[in-house]
């Protein structure tokens, strides 16, 4: 067992990304993710990696595009307003079938909003975010350990599907310190293997004739018939991801659940405490925590609605975004209720408990 260290989420995910073979990191400072860029500035040179502080969020994501187009593991990170700026580049990455990892340490919005934790970028992360028909995988951690572990998972998924992957964290996970245990860093041999995995399509040195190649990294198809086929192929990829990559956590899910709670990320931590307290008091509350918010675990949420569940209650740090997916999942089987907190304010365990108790009361 590796030693556990106490670290902020922003630093833990940075360290984990380096260990997972992140070769290049490009970013722009923004609160509450600045510890991440600062950690990379310190540690990437020591790991023989590339760190560049870009002139803008837009430049940073386009540097990622260039590096990823050369077959290297590349990453950027930001917080909500910065992620909004990166959407142009994310759409181009998706259109060009490029792997990349993008970390969003969410804060309150819209616009400049504030610098406190929020989950207001759920729609953006799960519905593409930029122009055109595309999806990015979106992983939502709920602990510093899980945040760190998602770095390797995100790179592996990005490489496997040649698609951008978002880690959808928030200011709480970025700023909070928790014990974390790291995977061992990739060996030189493993790094070399990663560097060579995309040579059949990426920008790389040429051989003399007759092995000369001409790889084009590109999202432009001016002929509508060609573009149609390109987008259909992207759609087939998203279908495959949807079929293979749904992740979630069942928490006290059983056939006697009275109420089902659905929450992700930081919100789910608070909900778990509330669920624990209510269950200790003799209730039977289940909780589903989506870990991939795209692809969304619709079936898992549906199956978690046990025979005695009277109501599903969704808790989010926004005005109600994931609740739309929960409604699709539950498909009218039972009513779906919602409680949100906005402005970068967290709900307390007592507030969550009160909402669930209210639902229990109504369901009687």
């Amino acid at each position: 067992m590796a030693e556990k260290v106490l670290m902020k989420g922003n630093e833990a995910v940075a360290e984990a990304a380096i260990r997972a073979g992140c070769r290049l990191y490009f970013a722009y400072p923004i609160t509450p993710q600045s510890e991440l860029i600062e950690y990379m500035a310190r540690m990437m040179p020591k790991a023989n990696g590339v760190f560049v502080q870009a002139e803008s969020e837009i430049a940073a994501i386009n540097m990622v595009y260039g590096a990823s187009g050369c077959g290297r593991r590349a990453m950027t990170s930001s917080s909500s307003p910065g992620i909004a700026l990166k959407q142009e580049g994310i759409s181009y990455l998706a259109g060009a079938n490029l792997p990349a990892v993008i970390i969003n340490v969410q804060r309150g919005g819209p616009g400049l909003g504030d610098i406190q934790p929020a989950q207001g970028d759920y729609f953006q992360a799960t519905r593409g975010g930029g122009n055109g028909d595309y999806y990015t995988m979106a992983l939502a951690p709920s602990t510093v350990q899980e945040f760190a572990d998602m770095a390797a998972l995100a790179f592996d998924l990005a490489d496997k599907y040649r698609n951008p992957v978002i880690i959808l964290a928030d200011g709480l996970l970025g700023q909070m310190m928790e014990p974390v245990e790291f995977q061992p860093a990739k060996t030189e041999a493993e790094l070399k293997e990663l560097d060579n995995q995309h040579l059949d399509w990426c920008c790389c040195p040429n051989e003399d004739e007759p092995n000369h190649h001409h790889h084009e990294i590109n999202s432009l198809e001016i002929d509508p018939v060609v573009l149609e086929q390109h987008v259909i192929k992207l759609g087939e990829k998203y279908d495959k991801i949807t079929a293979n990559e749904q992740r979630w956590e069942d928490y006290n899910i059983n056939k006697d659940n009275e109420i089902l709670v659905v929450a992700f990320g930081t919100a789910s931590r608070i909900c778990k405490s509330a669920v624990d307290e209510l269950n200790d008091a003799g209730h039977n509350i289940g909780l589903v925590r989506p870990i991939t918010v795209w692809p969304y675990p619709y079936d898992a949420v549906f199956k978690a609605v046990g025979p005695k569940v009277k109501k599903v209650v969704v808790f989010e740090l926004n005005l109600g975004q994931m609740v739309q997916d929960v409604k699709i999942a539950v498909n009218g089987k039972v009513p779906v209720d919602f409680m949100g907190k906005v402005g970068g304010i967290l709900f307390s365990t007592d507030e969550v408990k009160a909402k669930i108790e209210e639902s229990l009361e109504e369901a009687k």
Binding site: F26, A54, A59, N62, M63, G69, C203, L220
Partner: protein
């Protein structure tokens, strides 16, 4: 049989998609010939812009990336940092480089990134149909300056070489003309020099081509060269602004 003229290996077999009289083909050819002559093709990769030369990724015969509008220097930064063993160039027009991509070009130059930027200035947006560019001349009529560019309202054309020449990091900056065979021969020398410095990892190298747009200027090929000579060259002076390798030569 002796071959005295042939297509450079650096160009693919595709026919250019440019209008009659357009000078993009000449610029492509100068770059391709120089890459061939310097033996750089197998280690070369490039970035195509958004604009008339958007399909440059199809024409250059090595690996290419297509950038979002203005972002070519950011892509090239990522590419060169990812593959320091390779050589990189971008090819960009005036709208791409001097309007929407101003931040990217200034900061790539300021970091002294080890790649070459080829900048084609024809004082107009070509592909979108002849709108005003940041390099459109005072009083010049375009579809979005139908009464002529009013400098009191929208400002003066940007001289990119002069702008970049205020920065300390760039290694080589030169503006060349493609308006006559003699000027094309001179331009070739500058292109080759920039690419030589690129190969030798000297630093950031920048070439501005003064070019034409017969289609959107409403002139034929010859008239547009005359117009460019008369109107553009007095404003955009043909000169070398920076050659840090000069003393060694």
């Amino acid at each position: 049989m002796q071959v005295i003229a042939t297509r450079p290996n650096t160009l693919t077999d595709l026919n250019f998609t440019y209008c009659p009289g357009c000078l993009h083909g000449v610029a492509h050819r100068l770059i391709a010939e120089s890459i061939d002559e310097l033996g750089m093709r197998n280690q070369m990769m490039g970035v195509a812009p958004v604009g008339c030369s958007v399909f440059a990724y199809k024409f250059f015969n090595f690996d290419m990336q297509e950038a979002a509008h203005g972002r070519a220097p950011a892509l090239a930064t990522g590419m060169k940092r990812a593959r320091p063993d390779m050589n990189v160039f971008t090819y960009q027009g005036d709208g791409d480089l001097a309007a929407i991509g101003t931040a990217e070009i200034v900061h790539a130059a300021n970091r002294g990134e080890h790649f070459t930027v080829f900048f084609v200035n024809n004082a107009i947006y070509g592909m979108t149909g002849g709108q005003m560019a940041p390099t459109t001349l005072p009083d010049m009529k375009t579809t979005t300056s139908p009464y002529g560019r009013d400098v009191d309202d929208i400002g003066y054309p940007i001289r990119v070489c002069e702008l970049l020449n205020t920065l300390q990091a760039p290694y080589f900056i030169e503006r060349v003309s493609l308006l006559s065979p003699a000027e094309i021969m001179k331009a070739k020398k500058a292109v080759k020099k920039a690419l030589t410095y690129n190969k030798e990892e000297r630093g950031f190298t920048f070439i501005e081509f003064i070019s034409t747009c017969p289609t959107n200027w409403g002139l034929d090929a010859i008239e547009s060269r005359d117009w460019a000579r008369e109107k553009m060259l007095p404003f955009f002076k043909i000169q070398n602004f920076r050659d840090n390798g000069k003393e060694e030569a």
